[in-house]
């Protein structure tokens, strides 16, 4: 077990280096630099040159890369030039990450809850109308771009039935943690529920076909033949076998949280990391963009690691000898 994990972590090292190079290349792709749009048009070219020199923008790319990596390893992600002018990126991200995290965690829990419920109902009622309804619902939500549904949910639950606030996070730095926690819950719940409602497809499909496969196995027939009730067979045998592959998916769902948050946070006006990324892109705030990308890249790799560890843990056949 430990060998598997160690091996998996070693594989991550070249991956992290690749990710950092990729992100750096993307940052280099961006034309101009953050100073151009933000200076007084009358300012002296020499001043601009001095600013660029101070930020190290006149060095060759490989020197800039190593400088950037060195800074990142020291925890220095730079200063924002556009989004929150003058703030360090660490401070901005530190402020924005909690809303996204709370939304992401609620969304993940709800997604699993909804998908598992739907799959169980479907598998117990194969080919009946409720099974077909769930299949059609999941096909539709996976086919149609999800931000379309966000508008509908927004209009329904913010304007027509005003149960949820329209924008903001409900977090106030002056309040205590518990006050913030509960006020944030009210703001985070609608986006989280919306994400969950429309992203059940992959887990649902996977679990449903797993359940149907397991139902047709010999051990089910044996159990039924000796007189075990079908609901007991379901609970004690079928579910355990069918859930194994689902458990390992949870790592990958972490990866999707930030990417999906871009749309949900923009539509619902919920200022987290996703909305920050969109803002930074529009304003060409390099330091923020690279930092968010780095965060997402590392989260993605960690998610993959978590998934592999979980699947090695629940299924010994996968472990490396």
């Amino acid at each position: 077990m430990w060998q598997t994990i160690l091996r998996r972590i070693l594989i991550m090292i070249p991956q992290i280096i690749l990710v950092s190079i990729l992100i750096f290349m993307l940052a280099q792709l961006m034309p101009g630099d953050p100073f151009y749009g933000n200076l007084n048009p009358n300012s002296d070219p020499a001043t601009i040159e001095r600013l660029r020199h101070a930020a190290g923008l006149d060095l060759p790319w490989y020197q800039q890369y190593f400088k950037w990596i060195g800074n990142v390893l020291h925890g220095d992600l730079g200063t924002s030039y556009v989004v929150n002018k003058g703030w360090t990126v660490t401070r901005i991200i530190g402020q924005r990450i909690w809303p996204t995290l709370s939304m992401g965690i609620i969304a993940t829990i709800l997604t699993y809850f909804l998908a598992i419920t739907q799959a169980l109902v479907s598998a117990r009622n194969e080919n009946k109308w409720i099974d077909r309804t769930f299949i059609v619902w999941n096909t539709m939500t996976s086919a149609v771009p999800s931000f379309v549904f966000y508008f509908i949910m927004m209009v329904l639950f913010v304007y027509i039935i005003p149960v949820f606030p329209s924008s903001g996070t409900g977090i106030d730095d002056t309040q205590s943690f518990f006050v913030n926690f509960f006020s944030n819950l009210r703001y985070a719940f609608l986006p989280a529920l919306t994400i969950a409602l429309f992203s059940t497809n992959s887990i649902y499909q996977y679990l449903r076909s797993n359940l149907l496969d397991q139902q047709a196995q010999d051990y089910v027939r044996t159990a039924r033949a000796k007189g075990v009730q079908i609901k007991d067979v379901f609970r004690k045998h079928i579910l355990r076998n069918a859930f194994l592959p689902i458990a390992s998916q949870i790592g990958y769902s972490i990866t999707g949280v930030l990417g999906g948050a871009m749309f949900a946070e923009t539509v619902f006006g919920y200022p987290g990391i996703g909305a920050l990324f969109v803002q930074a892109l529009s304003g060409r705030d390099y330091t923020v963009i690279t930092a968010v990308m780095l965060l997402q890249g590392i989260l993605a790799l960690l998610g993959g690691l978590l998934s592999d560890i979980i699947s090695a843990w629940v299924d010994p056949r996968i472990r490396v000898k």
Partner: protein, 298 residues
């Protein structure tokens, strides 16, 4: 005694099966009818779209509500007729979707079959790269690339989308090929000295085509989704080229309440998007069943 060999014209059996599958599935029939109506609407409607619809600005008529001054669904924020803009946008989104799906399917079929068929170190390297690429946040990478170029033409957008998002499809085709490579007919063809490209394209490709086609439909709907999503956030197409996403951009701004007060500015776009993407995926599934009759609905 003569043995009568019944000859099928290419596609005739497919169309017959396709129709039979549609008759069995009311939902698919509905999706097909809606999709065809929409296609017809776009096809005919594009002749009424003025050339300068993306660049015109008629501030006096901007943001009219429906049924005012002869505009059935009102006007956009630049004063163009909403229905005509919608037609032009849907056409652009469709072109992008089809362009990306065709390119990706071509890449994935050729590349996926080759690495699946030959295996070895090519396969190993390709799979490591693909696995790595698949955990990357592709939507975010696309957003960065789109935002670096201030406005892309439709064709550049197609190219970039295809180059970034092919790995999942290649992996699928590779898996499909791997399951075919050890079948007897492939071995027999190999032993008898058939050239590899003949085995791949005449032998294996027809056997994996049902999945490739439904994957084509998924990719088509998916790339329409990614394109509309990113243009909705404001990255991608250049000024003057509209797509279903750019028509919704108005809503991503600060005036969130306009989602409610100006519902006519997004509801029609949403309906078109839902019909397009959902219809395409459903049709892909029907086509898959029509090709591979083992999966037919009983």
């Amino acid at each position: 005694m003569d043995i009568e060999v019944k000859k099928y014209r290419f596609g005739s059996r497919f169309l017959k099966n396709f129709w039979r599958e549609l008759e069995k599935d009311n939902l698919a029939l509905l999706a097909t009818v809606l999709l065809l109506t929409l296609f017809l609407f776009i096809l005919v409607g594009q002749f009424f779209v003025p050339k300068d619809i993306g660049t015109m600005s008629n501030i006096l008529n901007a943001n009219l509500p429906p049924l005012e001054k002869g505009h059935i669904l009102g006007t956009t924020d630049s004063g163009a007729d909403f229905v005509l803009t919608l037609i032009a946008s849907a056409k652009n989104s469709l072109i992008i979707g089809f362009g990306v799906a065709i390119l990706i399917t071509l890449i994935s079929v050729v590349f996926g079959m080759i690495i699946g068929f030959f295996g070895g170190w090519i396969d190993w390297i390709a799979m490591r790269l693909i696995d790595f690429w698949l955990v990357m946040p592709l939507v975010m990478i696309l957003a960065i690339i789109f935002s670096t170029a201030k406005g892309l033409s439709i064709w550049n957008l197609i190219l970039i989308l295809s180059v970034i998002s092919w790995p999942a499809n290649v992996r699928l085709v590779r898996t499909l090929t791997l399951s075919e490579v050890n079948r007897d007919y492939v071995r027999a063809a190999r032993i008898s000295g058939t050239k590899w490209y003949k085995i791949l394209f005449i032998g294996i490709l027809p056997n994996i085509s049902s999945t490739v086609i439904s994957d084509f439909a998924l990719t088509l709907a998916g790339s329409i989704g990614i394109e509309t999503g990113l243009t909705f956030l404001g990255f991608g197409l250049k000024q003057g080229t509209s797509s279903l996403g750019t028509m919704l951009t108005v809503l991503s701004g600060s005036s969130a309440s306009s989602v409610y007060t100006q519902w006519w500015s997004w509801v029609p776009v949403t309906i078109v998007l839902i019909i397009l993407t959902f219809g395409i995926v459903v049709l892909g599934q029907v086509a898959r069943r029509a090709i591979d009759q083992r999966q037919s609905v009983s």
